[in-house]
Symmetry: C2
Subunit: 228 residues, 2 copies
């Protein structure tokens, strides 16, 4: 479905809508995070482990993308965050879907908005949703060669979370090799090895998110002080 003759106008329209989303999020003080991964890497579990801590300090919201079922939104709501489910037959979320979900779900703007994309390490990389931060989650059990084999997804990401490090002793994957492979395609991404199962490494990831929110508030405060 990436044959250029059909995809180009779709992508152009999407980019325009993404710009609108980005302006809206900036105006309302929403830090939006596009969370992408292959199926089963643990996106929803990461949110379940991340949101309870962040909810103590910030109003959090989640837009959940899935081909079918609303199991994920139900799981996320238990953390106290407002969660809105999108069911789509598409292999990725696009900016229009995100805007419609945002308008439907968030009467009060969340300070932190996670957009959980469709489980797919290919197509979502091509679709700007208007997010501020792109995060790729990856299960270490999927192999150290994958960042080089799916470079676009990793290359576009501001942060890469390497999940399931508790499984490392039972696989042939070496964490150093995987981190090196991420660095080869995305040298500037922040990398967080974590285990959502044991909680290992989650502190650094949550701190990174808090820093992005603090930075965004500072930017807004300076802009406002300058009379904007």
């Amino acid at each position: 479905m990436q044959r250029i003759e059909v995809a180009t106008p779709v992508l152009k329209k999407n980019d325009e809508l993404a710009l609108e989303n980005r302006a809206l999020f900036a105006a309302r003080g929403v830090v939006a995070v596009n969370l992408m991964s292959a199926p089963g890497a643990g996106k929803t579990t990461l949110l379940e482990k991340t949101l309870p801590t962040l909810q103590l300090r910030f109003r959090c919201g989640v837009i959940e993308g899935d081909l079918q079922t609303d199991l994920d939104a139900e799981r996320v709501r238990k953390t106290g965050a407002v969660a809105h489910q999108i069911n789509t037959n598409a292999c990725h979320l696009d900016a229009r879907m995100v805007r419609e979900a945002y308008d439907a779900a968030f009467a009060q703007a969340p300070e932190l908005l996670f957009i959980e994309n469709i489980g797919n390490l290919v197509c979502p990389a091509a679709y700007d949703l208007g997010e501020q931060w792109r995060v790729t989650l990856f299960s270490v059990a999927e192999g150290a060669d994958k960042p080089r084999k799916y470079p676009k997804m990793f290359h576009n990401s501001h942060a890469v979370v390497l999940n399931k490090i508790d499984l490392l002793p039972y696989t042939d994957v070496r964490l150093e090799e995987l981190i090196e492979s991420v660095g080869a395609v995305s040298p500037e991404a922040a990398v967080f090895p974590v285990s959502c199962r044991t909680g290992d490494g989650l502190g650094a990831w949550i701190e990174w998110l808090e820093q992005q929110i603090a930075r965004s508030r500072q930017t807004r405060a300076s802009a406002s002080a300058e009379g904007h």
Copy 2:
């Protein structure tokens, strides 16, 4: 990229080419298997473990689909099988790519042809390649709920191989629950729990393939005896 207005003509053209591939494979006695999975479930490793046994009895060939790199074809060639790499920016293989690769690589028809699709649990389900058998490979570490969340891929499959069962004791996934979840969306699929790492379960999977080849030969023999 599945917006109907653009995808429908592409799919229709693909279906026509897939029919041609199917006729070609039937005429040349090629049993073609479309092997699909999410990234890192172990498609290439499964081929590395499957082909040495099958090569003893059948001429085997592989068409390798990847976004980038030809690492997989190199790995597969070590088994003695003829392997041809396709590098494509698309999120799936289509019938045209398969036909071009087949024509380029196989002067002598293989009796068993594996087509290793792009690592993606969504898009490849929509594209008929002209294969005889569709096989979905799934890593048990990806979670028992995934067949219900990615139903099209599982629903379309004749066989489902559940890999990495050696990791089960270190995850919260129960094999029975996962098998039940496969059965719910694909009640007729043959299910093979395996570990490519330990070799567990590979015998049954290889036997299934041998049966399909034997059946195909029988069909050809009967057709030829009837004077076709």
